[in-house]
């Protein structure tokens, strides 16, 4: 019974210490690696480039409409004359 209690105590202390282990490195370990990357091959972007495909589809339609509208304007203007 005592052994079980000791085991439980060890497990509990391990679990309770997780937040401290996972928390920040006050001891200055942020400066262990000072390297500066030239490209983000190792760091997938999560903000600026992530867009939904439906957004792309909308843009395709808008771009096509803009360019076709210019062409249609030219054609119609020519026809009128």
């Amino acid at each position: 019974m005592k052994r079980v209690k000791n085991l439980m105590a060890i497990i509990a202390s391990l679990v309770l210490s997780i937040p401290f282990v996972a928390s920040a490195q006050d001891g200055g370990t942020y400066i262990d690696s000072l390297n500066v990357q030239d490209s983000s091959y190792m760091q997938p972007l999560t903000t600026t480039t992530e867009q939904s495909s439906s957004n792309s589809t909308t843009m395709i339609i808008i771009a096509a409409i803009v360019v076709v509208a210019v062409i249609a304007f030219v054609v119609l203007r020519k026809k009128k004359k």
Partner: protein, 648 residues
């Protein structure tokens, strides 16, 4: 005189221009430089070939989490890997460069044929060939760029057959339909962006019916015409889509889903690369909306911009007249403008100038040649005609002279409008393909003889040293070069902050030779006679600070602009709580390179350690404005914010 006229017919002139182009390409292909993308795509192509040879058992070509290479069809790269494997060719890059030259020649052919389609004159075709050869950003990538040049070839071939197909309505020929399908398939096989060509075909059909409404009646009132056309359209769609996937393992895993997944990835490419633009240093995902038009304006030769302006002006001015080629001209306009407008609208992740958009340049060339052709037909005055001809000749000579003087780094061209190459250096991305490394590598090989050497570089061009048994190669970033063991360094003047470039403080005392391009340094060859820097860093990393400091101080005396050494010395001081030395090193480093990220990180760490959280936050905010991808600073900032919240 008459005999001469008979010889120099339009057709013969076009053929002669293509013949001359072939000779130039064959002569230059063995002398071309290997670019950094080749070192990325060729090994992948070898894996793709192995996938086929092992019947799909070797799946390494499908596992590319970092490089995204599985999303590229890259059929031409794969083709060269296949040729090299089957024929056991030793000089693999030579095969690639001849292949590139062949596809560039095909691009010339289709551009010329499209010019003939427009004007009915082979002289225009010959003019287009000359214009294409004199466009450095295009010709300069003919040999090593097996993505963008073949894609441009497929794109233009598809446009050529599309125009032919539409002009043959209501009864297009079957051969035209099949060639159109194959051209679209080839384009898709290089890059899935070729799917846009299906949309182009639909728009071409709508446009021709708008211009010639009677065609609609001819198609729908005759059953045979309708059935024939439906069959041909189906052939184009099926061939164009499925034939393009045959040499692409990733697409073959799911032919209806994966090509579209690839398209999505390509449109919003997830890899960001640091770029010099307008004198600033930005990540490619931060570049402004006008990045592409600005690059087109500064890096396209003046004669092309002039020709295009003349074409556009005359086109709108002459709209009242009955134009026979209205459809073709409008359609070409569309194929030039649509991709440009589209990538601007979606905020596509572009970098390396307009390399990814090279495929619109041949269309621009055709329209520019057409502009000059239209102008020449208008000029009745003989002297005016001669004057314009001479002016055009001189304008073409400017980029040609640049090409002759700078090959194989000729693709780095900025026009007179932007102030030329001299003004562009340190303001715009320069030799992004590292073509300049070739000469430095050849010099080094000639110097070293049989000595065992370690060569370091800030690019992946190990190919130059693969045949040397006594040389080993390693990659290291230029500013962090002291962290690696090497004897000689070949560094492209790339990935360096433009302000550091302009101050000249990027230079190291270890440089033994600088390679220039129009007076601008593009590559440096370095020799390391003393390894105190490398040894000092190793000692610092293992915690032996006193000895490390001694060695690093010694190295810094010899190479006083080495900010990496200064940041290491500052770090050691900080770890030893020697704040006086720390501040001195920080000041010394910032006098060389004020924007260097490690200095901010070290300063923030000092403030953080001393409990000055608000000041630490300000410093971290600043460094993340300079470089949003300096992840270690982002992690520290999160911690600082957490602590600030806890203290509230």
């Amino acid at each position: 005189m008459n005999k001469l006229k008979d010889i120099f017919t339009g057709r013969n002139t076009f053929a002669a221009s293509l013949g001359l182009a072939a000779i130039i390409l064959l002569f230059l292909a063995p002398r071309a430089a290997v670019n950094v993308d080749e070192q990325l795509h060729y090994p992948h192509a070898q894996k793709v070939v192995n996938w086929y040879f092992t019947g799909g058992a070797d799946k390494t070509c499908l596992e590319t989490p970092v490089t995204n290479l599985k999303y590229y069809g890259q059929s031409v790269d794969n083709f060269t890997a296949l040729i090299n494997r089957v024929f056991q060719i030793d000089n693999e890059f030579l095969t690639r460069h001849f292949t590139g030259a062949f596809f560039f020649w095909l691009l010339l052919l289709f551009a010329g044929l499209t010019g003939k389609q427009l004007t009915g004159s082979y002289y225009v075709s010959a003019l287009i060939v000359v214009f294409m050869l004199a466009t450095p950003r295009l010709f300069g990538q003919a040999f090593g760029n097996l993505k963008d040049i073949p894609f441009a070839t497929g794109y233009l071939a598809a446009i050529f057959f599309m125009i032919k197909f539409v002009q043959e309505l209501p009864q297009p020929r079957w051969t035209t339909a099949v060639w159109l399908g194959l051209a679209i398939a080839f384009t898709n096989s290089v890059r899935i962006g070729g799917l846009v060509l299906f949309g182009y075909l639909a728009i071409a059909m709508v446009l021709i019916i708008l211009l010639k409404p009677f065609l609609l009646k001819q198609i729908f009132s005759t059953k045979s015409n309708f059935v024939r056309l439906s069959g041909q359209m189906l052939t184009v769609v099926l061939t164009g889509y499925f034939a393009g996937l045959v040499f692409w393992p990733f697409a073959l895993q799911n032919v209806f889903v994966n090509p579209f997944e690839s398209l999505r990835v390509m449109e919003h490419y997830k890899v960001s690369i640091r770029q010099v633009f307008e004198g600033e240093w930005l990540w490619s995902t931060q570049l402004p909306w006008y990045y592409l038009p600005k690059w087109l304006l500064i890096a396209t030769p003046g004669f092309l911009l002039t020709g295009f302006a003349v074409f556009s002006g005359l086109f709108f001015f002459q709209l009242k007249t009955n134009r026979k080629q209205l459809f073709t001209e409008l359609f070409l306009f569309f194929t030039l403008l649509f991709p440009v407008v589209y990538v601007m609208l979606i905020g596509a992740n572009l970098y390396s100038g307009y390399r990814q958009m090279l495929f619109v340049v041949p269309v621009l060339v055709i329209l520019a040649a057409l502009g000059f052709y239209n102008l020449f037909t208008l000029l009745k005055n003989r002297f005016l005609f001669a004057g314009v001809s001479v002016a055009l000749f001189i304008m073409v000579l400017i980029p040609v002279k640049h090409q002759v003087l700078t090959f194989p780094v000729d693709y780095v061209y900025f026009n007179q409008l932007s102030g030329g190459n001299k003004k562009a250096w340190a303001n715009y991305e320069y030799d992004y393909y590292f073509h300049g490394v070739k000469e430095a590598a050849e010099d080094l090989i000639a110097q070293t003889g049989g000595n065992n050497i370690i060569v370091a570089s800030n690019c992946n061009l190990s190919n130059y040293f693969e045949k040397l048994p006594n040389a080993s190669f390693r990659y290291v970033r230029f500013l962090e070069r002291s962290s690696e063991d090497w004897d000689y360094g070949i560094f492209g003047v790339n990935y360096i902050h433009p302000r550091l470039l302009k101050s000249g403080k990027w230079k190291s005392s270890q440089i033994v030779k600088t390679y220039y391009h129009h007076g601008n340094p593009i590559v440096v060859l370095m020799k390391r006679t003393d390894k105190s820097d490398f040894e000092g860093i190793n000692l610092a990393d293992s915690g032996n600070y006193p000895e490390a400091t001694e060695l690093l101080e010694k190295a810094l005396k010899a190479d006083e602009n080495n900010v990496w050494l200064i940041s290491y010395l500052a770090k050691i001081s900080l770890k030893q709580n020697d704040f006086e030395s720390f501040n001195r090193y920080l000041q010394q480093g910032r006098a060389v390179y004020p924007e260097y990220e490690p200095f901010f990180l070290l300063e923030a760490q000092q403030l953080f350690t001393n409990g000055k959280l608000n000041e630490a936050k300000t410093v971290l905010d600043k460094v993340l404005t300079i470089n949003p991808y300096y992840n270690v600073a982002a992690s520290m900032l999160n911690e600082v914010k957490k602590k600030l919240n806890d203290n509230k």
